[in-house]
């Protein structure tokens, strides 16, 4: 494999020094076989600029920490191979989320707030009996829930969403998908009206303008288009009944 020389254009901003304007800094790195952006960014930090901030945790495409704009596209840095990119690589932090510095954004706070606002937990009046057998569920239902639950909260769908970029409280496709996950779950005893209260608004499902950037950007391939349609249908009906 011919070894290329890569030029990284990386967004730099440190909230600790607000007087210093955001800027793009250039780093040059020799490409190696099998190099991912995880490897490249660590090399840059360890060998060229030890102040560079970015977030990786699992480095395996599982935890959702490393979403960023890679040549303009929101995606996971850890599973992006440099060989699939041109020699000039531009890295920017995801928009919408609070910027913590350089490529690091506060997705954690955003997603927690979304979970609170959508009350993203099983609502039930039943109590747990440690001596009883578990309640049955069909495997099909379980897989259906899992399909929605696979979201890793990386924020790529949010970063690329036109509505989320202009409306700070819009819960985005990830938020709608989270609600769909509980709607599908027979253990959750909320009725449609109760769901309407958490997503039946302009900050919820009715804020979505349906251009489907989210669906294209989801790195785990959650069928967001279908989930948005499902929740919209249910909530439109529930809205009628009000």
């Amino acid at each position: 494999m011919s070894q290329r020389q890569l030029t990284f254009h990386i967004f730099r901003y440190n909230p600790e020094t607000p007087n210093q304007k955001p800027a793009t800094q250039t780093f040059v790195l020799q490409e190696e076989t099998g190099m991912t952006l995880f490897i490249a960014l660590n090399k840059i930090r360890e060998e060229q600029d030890s102040t560079l901030k970015f977030d990786f945790v699992c480095r395996a495409g599982i935890c959702g920490s490393c979403g960023m704009l890679i040549n303009g596209k929101p995606t996971l840095a850890c599973r992006t191979l440099t060989k699939d990119l041109p020699t000039d690589i531009t890295l920017m932090p995801l928009p919408v989320f609070k910027l913590l510095g350089d490529l690091s954004v506060d997705t954690g706070t955003w997603f927690r707030d979304m979970s609170l606002r959508t009350e993203a937990w099983v609502h039930t009046e039943k109590t747990f009996d440690p001596d009883a057998q578990e309640e049955r569920m069909s495997n099909e239902t379980a897989l259906h829930i899992y399909e929605a639950e696979r979201c890793i909260e990386c924020g790529c769908c949010i970063g690329g969403c036109a509505t989320a970029n202009i409306k700070p409280n819009f819960i985005g496709a990830a938020g709608v998908n989270r609600v769909a996950r509980f709607m599908l779950d027979p253990r959750d005893e909320r009725d449609e009206q109760e769901y309407f209260d958490v997503v039946g608004s302009e900050d919820g499902i009715f804020g979505c303008i349906g251009l489907m950037a989210c669906d294209d950007n989801c790195p785990v391939g959650i069928p967001l288009q279908g989930q948005l349609a499902y929740v919209r249908r249910k909530m439109a009906l529930a809205g009628w009944k009000r």
Binding site: T36, I39, S50, L100, R112, W121, N139, T141
Partner: protein
């Protein structure tokens, strides 16, 4: 007076993985005020990465029929190579089914029993229609029955998300991007922690009646690890640095044969199970030379050992990331690879840029799990300090002994969280918080001073990343899968020197605010101390047990070594001190493990 924010709670939990969150829920539902700290948002914790599953003897699946806590207990003890405390293993096996059912009640979409017939590995399996819709189980090595509960390929993800949804529902306070630097204690009682905010770099003080360490494993001491990059053992070294809390069995380190090079992501056993081969640099299939009967499917620690043996003989493939071997699944064909081995194929394509349909996969044995950790009693109380608890991978509770069985670790986090969480709650209700401000001030000043001297390069200009790479290399080369006197001595000597050099680290970055180099620099000495405990423990233990394999002492030696290592690091000392205690044997006397090369301490599945 120093400037810092101060927070107080009844219970302070350090770590928002499954273990920490489950304990937090238990304490909070008993009416206590709880704060959880975490380096990262809870759902990013390493627990989310576990795909395989968690063991509990529910016995719903056809291949789990007749399973019981008794059998689960026996598997766990054998798996541990009799290194575990049997009263703990018993408690664990009894409670695991309840813990799984509770997770189902909270919302985990467990895979469920589907009635009917299917073929697995040439065997007909008939699922019982009576059991339809109950929690299903899959096969994991080292177990007599199929008892590993799972959700498709995302067990850790779904269980952690569900657990965290309960934490959110209960309104438990979580401070993420917060790193604990040290424990506040007076040599007898632990009263909280000094932490650093990773958003601003500011120091904070958290005081509590009880402090709980659930910070996960230390995989990242070995550069090549399947663990998340935040698994740096910081909870373990803050406990060790008190001088009075010992770490148990640090030399017990588990390796998995096939981590993909160079990102060390786990390639599951499925690849070899379905007929994948291991090849050397000459494309020679070498496993049959060593293990004519089981070949690639010998137990995981055996395969790991053989790969390293072969690489050492000079048959490894050189790469910028060190020597490796190849995993070849090309002969299985495109259809099989893209359907039955889809996850593996995706990992290969996304992370190594190779297509296993046409290319060889570069693999090498990789650190995977830390059996050792903060030594606690059966109630989760750490030795040495009252008010300090530990659980999960950070702890040596000790149900894993010298080898953890696949699926037993996730199960441990939830079971221990439930049981130890209850003990924490009981303890806390009786306890009071009285910690002098002078003591707090002393601990804060110590950290402030450390930070200042790193920034000013007061003690030298050692490069933290350089030291870290040296530590990783020392461990990987000398305290790996094969161990023997000479390399271990070398490792101890080199780590001794490295420890001293780590006191001379200086920053290049200026260390302002949430500077990442400062964060690494604050960790390096503690990490090297852990590495030292691992190497020193391995040097002292002159036998082979579970994952600890001494070439010069290839047999298990119950007469002299049926005991647990306790590593202490007295304050101001320049090396660890080792002590020992017997393991608790209540039901199952030491015997043959009944699989693998029993005499050489072969282990079983360790996903």
């Amino acid at each position: 007076m120093s400037q810092y924010d101060r927070f107080t709670s009844d219970v302070l939990i350090v770590g928002a993985g499954l273990a920490g969150e489950r304990a937090a829920i238990e304490a909070a539902t008993q009416g206590l005020n709880v704060i959880i700290l975490s380096l990262v948002p809870p759902r990013r914790s390493h627990s989310s990465a576990a795909q395989g599953g968690m063991q509990a003897a529910l016995g719903n699946s056809a291949m789990g029929k007749g399973d019981s806590p008794d059998i689960h207990f026996a598997d766990t003890v054998k798996g541990s190579d009799w290194g575990c405390d049997q009263d703990v293993a018993r408690l664990f096996a009894e409670m695991a089914p309840v813990a799984m059912r509770q997770m189902a009640y909270w919302g985990v979409p467990w895979s469920r029993v589907v009635p009917g017939k299917r073929i697995y590995d040439g065997v007909d399996i008939h699922e019982d229609p009576e059991k339809e819709g109950l929690i299903a189980a899959r096969n994991f090595g080292g177990t007599a029955k199929w008892r590993t509960c799972y959700t498709a390929d995302g067990t850790g993800h779904t269980v952690l998300y569900t657990m965290d949804s309960v934490v959110i529902k209960l309104g438990i306070t979580v401070h993420d991007r917060t790193e604990v630097l040290s424990l506040i204690h007076d040599g007898e009682r632990c009263s909280g922690v000094v932490a650093r905010c990773l958003r601003t770099g500011n120091l904070r003080v958290y005081t509590a009646k009880s402090t709980v360490i659930a910070t996960g494993g230390y995989g990242r001491l070995y550069g090549a690890s399947t663990n998340a990059i935040i698994n740096e053992g910081s909870g373990m070294f803050v406990a060790l640095e008190t001088g009075v809390v010992p770490l148990g069995n640090m030399e017990a380190v588990q390796f998995h044969p096939t981590g993909i090079v160079p990102t060390w992501i786990l390639i599951t056993e499925g690849a070899r199970g379905d007929g994948g081969y291991l090849l050397d640099k000459d494309h020679h299939r070498f496993m049959p030379d060593y293990e004519p009967k089981k070949k690639e499917l010998a137990s995981r620690d055996v395969v790991s050992r053989r790969i390293m043996q072969h690489i050492r003989k000079g048959y490894g493939v050189e790469s910028p990331y060190g020597a490796h071997v190849w995993l070849d699944i090309r002969h299985l064909g495109e259809k099989h690879i893209n359907t039955n081995l889809r996850e593996i194929a995706n990992i290969c394509r996304n992370f190594a840029g190779v297509d296993p349909v046409h290319d060889l996969i570069p693999v090498r044995p990789t650190q995977h799990y830390s059996m050792g950790g903060i030594r606690t009693n059966i109630d989760g109380m750490a030795y040495g300090l009252t008010g300090l608890f530990s659980l999960g991978e950070a702890a040596c509770w000790d149900m894993h002994g010298f080898n953890r069985l696949g699926g037993n670790s996730l199960a441990e986090t939830v079971v221990a969280g439930m049981l130890i969480g209850d003990k924490i709650a009981k303890y806390t209700k009786e306890a009071s918080l009285n910690v002098s401000s002078a003591l707090i001030e002393e601990h804060v000043r110590f950290q402030e001073d450390r930070i200042q001297s790193l920034i000013e390069c007061r003690n030298g200009k050692e490069n933290v990343y350089q030291l870290r790479r040296e530590m990783e290399t020392i461990l990987s080369e000398n305290v790996g899968i094969f161990r023997s006197e000479e390399p271990l001595q070398k490792a101890v000597a080199q780590l001794h020197e490295l420890h001293q050099r780590s006191c001379q680290v200086g920053l290049r970055s200026g260390g302002k605010g949430a500077d990442p180099e400062l964060a690494s620099a604050l960790r390096i000495t503690g990490m090297i101390k852990l590495a030292y405990c691992i190497a020193a423990g391995a040097l002292a233990r002159k036998e082979s047990r579970g994952s600890h394999f001494r070439e010069d002492y290839p047999k298990r030696d119950d007469e002299n070594w049926l005991k647990r290592t306790l590593a202490y690091w007295p304050v101001g000392a320049d090396r660890p001190e080792l002590d020992y205690e017997p393991v608790k044997i209540t039901e199952l006397p030491p015997g043959d493990r009944g699989y693998g090369e029993a005499s050489t301490g072969a282990a079983s599945a360790n996903r």
